[in-house]
Every structure is written in structure tokens, then in C-alpha cells.
């Protein structure tokens, strides 16, 4: 990327973030919180560096801890577009970067049949931008006005070939289409990658990124999250739910509940009109917390009552 590009895109963020580093990080924390995302200083500092150094950030952590949310909130914080690429096994360039609109091309060839254009002209016509289907990665470097946020979700699910391709994109922010030439980024996107650590990512990709590990939140942080997301909920009930989920996490389940599950459970309790968490309520909302039969059985066997007592002990 040329220095000019960086300067131009940095203008946007400078208007939002105050000048000093400390104030900048503070602004991110409060800004994110306003958008309903409770963050800590560690993540906010990393986000600040993403904005300043224009490096991609790799966010790892267990499922349901708001990795994807980071990108969404960053986009609304910066007031810019979010472009999302969901990775999966077998993801290839034609669904991630671009594809030609074949049907339209075939029609165009038919229409052009009688015309007196040369073959070269016809070719240029059907391989022009009108016939290009832009997929997320190409979109992300084509945005006209500001830098978008590019979310590459669950990169560990894509295969190594795709990872290698991504590497190329993230170092030069340009994409080459054989029929059209090279397209350079107008504005370098803010890139957020997430991974569930289902496989080890390549060293080259990891080195190019800032790194952030998101752990299960502490009791206080999770309380703040629940209070922020569900402000209408009674504090006592919120405390019970958070304490209960935190206790369940210690049970070594195959899929420990994340924050998303805590919020589901809390919302379910509100919907059921439960004033407090009791055995019946736990049974009714078990599906929010455990996503497999075995885990459910474990939670039951561990003694719901005992967990409840543990969770209330924490608050004296």
C-alpha cells in the first residue's frame, strides 16, 4: 500500500479518536460500551493499534464470547460498512473474491452475434465490470468513501490454500483478475479475523496480524455484560444467572456455555416470567446452556441445587 492511501484512510479515524493514546483507548472502551459491547482495556488497546498501525487483528477464543461481535461493533463505532466473509470447509476464490456472471455473459454473446464488433471488442465487453460478481473480499477493497471493516469469520474452517491466498490480499490489499488486471484498494479495510482454534493457522498469517485472546469473562465483567444487554432485567436475577453459568463452566463440559448462552438463558427467564432462578427454571432453560445431551446430563448430575447454592454463596 502506498503512504498516500494510509493517510487518506487515517483521516476518518482521527476524527473519531482523540489524539493521545490513552484517551484513544478510553474512547474505544466507552464507545463500544455505548454500542452494547462491554470490553476490557486489553482488547481496546489492540483495537486502537488496529486503527493506528493498520494491521489486521486475529481474535481467538472459545465459542460464544463475542469474537464476531468485535468486528460488528467496530464497524458501527467507526460509522463504516461491515463486510463479512464466513469461512467454511471448501471455500474457494469464486465465492470469496469474485466470479463472472456466466449467464449474463452467454446472453451478451448471443445479443452481440449480429454486430460487427471484432472478437477482441466482444471479449473486452463481456469481461468488463458489468459482468463481474463481487464477493466479500473484492467488495472490501472497492468501497469508495471510507475504509470498511472486513470480518473474516472462522478462518480456521477454510483450508490452507485459501489462507495462503488471504495472505497475499492482506499484504498488498490488491486483487488480480486475469481478464481485467489488478484492482488496488481505494481504502485499506480494517481487517478482523476470528478463529476457534480448531486447527493451527499458518505462521505467516499469524505474524501479519495483531493477536487477541478472549477468555471467559470474570463474574464482574459478565454481570456488566448482562446488565448492559438486558437493562430491564432485575439485578438479583441477573446475578443468579451469571453465578449459575460461571459454576456450570467449571464442570468441564464438552461445550462450556459462552456469554451468548448466558444472555440466552437470561432472556429465556425473563420471557418465562421467572422472578428468580430455581430448580424448575434451570430445568426449563437447560437448552439455552447445554447444547448436547451429555452436557445436559452432566449439569443435572452435578446437582442443580448444589450449583445454585454455590452461585449464591459468591454474593454472601
Amino acid at each position: 500500500m502506498s503512504p498516500g492511501v494510509v493517510e487518506a484512510t487515517n483521516m476518518g479515524i482521527l476524527q473519531i479518536l482523540p489524539s493521545g493514546a490513552r484517551q484513544g483507548v478510553d474512547a474505544i472502551i466507552s464507545g463500544f460500551e455505548r454500542l452494547g459491547y462491554v470490553t476490557d482495556r486489553s482488547l481496546a488497546t489492540a483495537i486502537y493499534l488496529v486503527a493506528k498501525l493498520r494491521k489486521p487483528i486475529l481474535v481467538e477464543g472459545h465459542a460464544g464470547l463475542g469474537k464476531t461481535e468485535v468486528a460488528k461493533v467496530l464497524a458501527s463505532f467507526l460509522g463504516t460498512r461491515l463486510i463479512r466473509l464466513q469461512c467454511y470447509d471448501g471455500l474457494d476464490v469464486s465465492s470469496a473474491v469474485y466470479e463472472w456472471n456466466y449467464q449474463k455473459q452467454l446472453l451478451a454473446i448471443k445479443i452481440e452475434e449480429g454486430s460487427d464488433r471484432t472478437v477482441e471488442e466482444k471479449e473486452r465487453h463481456i469481461f468488463s465490470r458489468d459482468f463481474l460478481l463481487e464477493r466479500p473480499l473484492l467488495q472490501s477493497i472497492q468501497v469508495e468513501d471510507t475504509s470498511p471493516v472486513l470480518l473474516i469469520d472462522e478462518i480456521d474452517r477454510a483450508d490452507e490454500a485459501f489462507e495462503a491466498f488471504l495472505l497475499e490480499l492482506l499484504s498488498d490489499y490488491q486483487i488480480t483478475i486475469p481478464e481485467m488486471g489488478t484492482i488496488r484498494a481505494k481504502h485499506v479495510p480494517y481487517v478482523v479475523l476470528t478463529s476457534n482454534r480448531s486447527r493451527e493457522l499458518g505462521d505467516a498469517l499469524k505474524r501479519r496480524c495483531l493477536y487477541q485472546w478472549i477468555d471467559y469473562p470474570s463474574l464482574e465483567k459478565e454481570m456488566r455484560i448482562v446488565r448492559t444487554r438486558l437493562p430491564s432485567m432485575e439485578e438479583k436475577l441477573a446475578r443468579q444467572v451469571v453465578g449459575y453459568v460461571q459454576a456450570v463452566r467449571r464442570l468441564s463440559l464438552s461445550k462450556p456455555p459462552g456469554v451468548a448462552e448466558t444472555l440466552d438463558c437470561a432472556e429465556a427467564l425473563v420471557a418465562l416470567g421467572k422472578p428468580q432462578l430455581d430448580e424448575e427454571a434451570i430445568e426449563q432453560t437447560l437448552g439455552c446452556i447445554s447444547k448436547s445431551v451429555e452436557d445436559g446430563a452432566k449439569i443435572r448430575n452435578a446437582g442443580v441445587g448444589r450449583i445454585l447454592i454455590q452461585s449464591t454463596e459468591g454474593f454472601g
Binding site: 482495556r41 488497546t45 454473446i109
Partner: protein, 377 residues
């Protein structure tokens, strides 16, 4: 202000020194990361301690393990809280405490591999002669000192093997659907009439693999390697089911899937699978047939048993159950570590009962024999 260019300031030098310190402790703080750290320090300034720490952490780390290690590095370097050696001593404790009290030998060696490969990085260059020797040595005769090297070699070779397997299938596949993009390209000169069709090769569809690994006492010196072998193998089959058995059958497919090797080993060591107990091959196969037979497909399933054939159960049951399996799969492969012994004869009652139903009977006592399996897969 710190500057990466020109005359380095005192603070810049400190950052560089910290990076070197972190590298010694096992973080991958190469020149690239060091420059990143300098940039981060420039942006964040030195005013706020926490911000600097968080910033450097996000630059210098690239995995959860780094993340945990960084904490110690930072404390040790700037606060002088813990001397260098202290952390190194603490590390094994921490790791084993993650695995709980009853960590088996499988675990400790499994993690040993992780520590060495991550922390030595590129330094671990193994000589060709050692490699030659180690690929032939029987797992059960392996001196403890060679264990780590052998594991590194084997992981690399297993990876190479599975990559070769994947490639081989790709070139052998048949015509798939029409590749519109190439077709249009080819036929522009004919007015777009698709006369000359181009095909997209069908994505390789590997076999399904079902493996049963014997983890009874007689196999204990081999089990660890075989588990790793199975792990490497599963990467390149579309569908893999993995089971452990001794006196009973344990399905470890879900423990294996979607995890990294170290994490998978950690989980396995905590399973009540009956490590190093007796063997009932026939009974385990019967259990398999009752519960999991629908996973077999005669068209494309490879059924692999890794066992020494020492069976304390009824050989008649073993024969009947293996025969039932045989009818539902493409190939039955039996890997027996004892086949590596010079004068071994498969005359134990269990083994001889099983022999008629086995398509490939091969040794699995050293790395070389495992790699030789490639041609049967």
C-alpha cells in the same frame, strides 16, 4: 519519541531488548515482530503502563500459549518480579495441572512434543543419519531421549504423507460438471456457441475411514504413536470415525475432530477408556457392530484395526464379528506391531481367527512401517 529509523533512543533500545528477552523465553519475536513492537510503542507512548503491555502483547503473541507466556515475560523483564529460571521451572507444573492429576504417560509425552516444537522453532534440525535410524527403530525399544526427535520427525512425515494422499486422488478423478468460465473463454471465437466444453474436475472424494485402536496393556508402548498417526490420517479423509478399545469400545471421533493434536491428546488422556487394561477384541467388535455398523459403506470404507491380536475373549466371536464387518467395507486392514519382530507368527488364537477376513496385514512397529501404509490407503 521512539523511532525505528535513524538513531535509536534509549526507549527504543529497551523495547528491542525486551523483544530479545521474549524470544529467549520462547515467543516468536523476530525482526518483524520487533519492528511491530516499536511501532506499537510509538503509537501508545510510554505514559500508560497497561496500555503498553496490552499493545506489546497483541503484537508479539500469536496463540493462546504465547498469550499466557507473555504475562511472565513482561513481569520478569520490567518489574524484575520473577527471575528467568523461575518461569521455566514453573511451566511443566502448569501444563500438567491443566491436564488434571491423573495425567497418563500419553499426556506427558504428547505435551513434551508441543513444548519442544513451539519453543525450539526452526532450530530443531535433525541430521539425516538420526532420522534414518529413528524411522526404523521399534517404538517399544525407543530410548526416552530420542522420543522428542522421533515425534517431530513423525509429525512432519505424517503430514507429508497425508498431503501426498490428497494430491494423488485429485489427479485420478473423473469428469465432473461443466466449467462455465473456461467454456465461455474458449468459445468466444465461435460466437459464444458452447461447442468445446471444458470440465471442472470433481473435487476429490476420499474414502471413509473407520479405525479401531487397541489401547490394552500389551499395546501401551505403541498406543501413543498410533494415536498420532490416526490423527494425521484423519485430515485427509472426508469422513473419519475413530474408536479406542480394550475391554470396551470408546468412540473418540468427536474428541478428535476440530481440535489441534495437543488439545485432542489432553482430552483423550482424561477419558475413562481403560488405558493399559486387558483386551476383548471380539467383544469390542460386537459392540461396534451393534452400535456403529451403519457407518460402514461397502463402496468406500476402509476399516483399520491396530492391535497385536492378544485377545482374552472367545476367538469365535472375533471371527464372526470381523466377518460381519468385512461384508460391509471395501477393505479390512489390520496393523500389528508384533509383525515387526523377526520370528513372529500370527498363531495366537485371536489373530489366527481374524486372519481370513483381513485384506492387508501389515506391521506397525516403527515409523517406516506406518509410512509404508500409504500404498494401501
Amino acid at each position: 519519541m521512539i523511532s525505528a529509523k535513524g538513531q535509536p533512543s534509549a526507549t527504543a533500545r529497551t523495547i528491542v531488548e525486551f523483544c530479545r528477552f521474549a524470544r529467549e523465553k520462547g515467543l516468536s519475536a523476530s525482526v518483524h515482530e520487533t519492528l511491530g513492537a516499536l511501532d506499537a510503542a510509538t503509537v501508545l507512548g510510554l505514559g500508560n503502563w497497561d496500555d503498553l503491555k496490552f499493545g506489546l502483547r497483541s503484537v508479539l503473541c500469536s496463540s493462546k500459549e504465547d498469550w499466557d507466556l507473555f504475562e511472565h515475560c513482561f513481569e520478569a523483564f520490567w518489574r524484575g518480579a520473577a527471575p528467568l529460571s523461575d518461569h521455566k521451572e514453573r511451566q511443566p507444573e502448569e501444563r500438567s495441572s491443566r491436564g488434571g492429576r491423573n495425567t497418563t504417560s500419553l499426556m506427558s509425552t504428547g505435551l513434551g512434543d508441543e513444548v519442544s516444537s513451539e519453543h525450539d522453532g526452526g532450530q530443531a534440525v535433525t541430521g539425516a543419519s538420526i532420522r534414518e535410524r529413528l524411522t526404523k527403530v521399534d517404538f517399544s525399544n525407543l530410548p526416552q531421549s530420542d522420543m522428542v526427535i522421533l515425534e517431530q520427525i513423525s509429525l512432519r512425515l505424517f503430514k507429508q504423507m497425508s498431503r501426498r494422499l490428497a494430491r494423488r486422488r485429485r489427479s485420478g478423478s473423473s469428469r465432473g460438471q461443466v466449467d462455465l468460465r473456461k467454456t465461455i473463454r474458449r468459445n468466444i471465437s465461435r460466437g459464444g456457441e458452447p461447442m468445446n466444453l471444458r470440465y471442472r474436475e470433481r473435487k476429490p472424494r476420499p474414502h471413509r475411514l473407520v479405525t479401531l485402536l487397541d489401547i490394552s496393556g500389551s499395546m501401551s508402548s505403541y498406543s501413543l504413536f498410533l494415536v498420532k498417526f490416526l490423527f494425521a490420517l484423519q485430515q485427509h479423509f472426508r469422513h473419519v470415525d475413530t474408536f479406542l478399545f480394550s475391554t470396551a469400545l470408546v468412540d473418540i471421533t468427536s474428541q478428535f475432530r476440530g481440535r489441534r493434536l495437543q488439545d485432542a491428546l489432553l482430552v483423550l488422556s482424561q477419558l475413562p477408556a481403560g488405558w493399559s487394561s486387558g483386551t476383548k477384541i471380539g467383544g469390542s467388535l460386537r459392540e461396534f457392530n451393534q452400535l456403529h455398523r451403519r457407518k460402514l459403506r461397502s463402496s468406500d470404507t476402509l476399516f483399520v484395526v491396530l492391535s497385536d491380536g492378544w485377545d482374552t475373549g472367545d476367538p469365535g466371536v472375533l471371527a464372526a464379528e470381523l466377518g460381519a464387518v468385512k461384508r460391509c467395507v471395501r477393505k479390512v486392514i489390520w496393523l500389528n506391531p508384533l509383525l515387526g519382530l523377526k520370528d513372529y507368527q500370527p498363531i495366537t488364537s485371536g489373530m489366527s481367527a481374524a486372519l481370513p477376513y483381513i485384506d492387508v496385514f501389515a506391521p506397525a512397529h516403527n515409523l517406516e512401517s506406518l509410512l509404508a501404509l500409504e500404498m494401501h490407503l
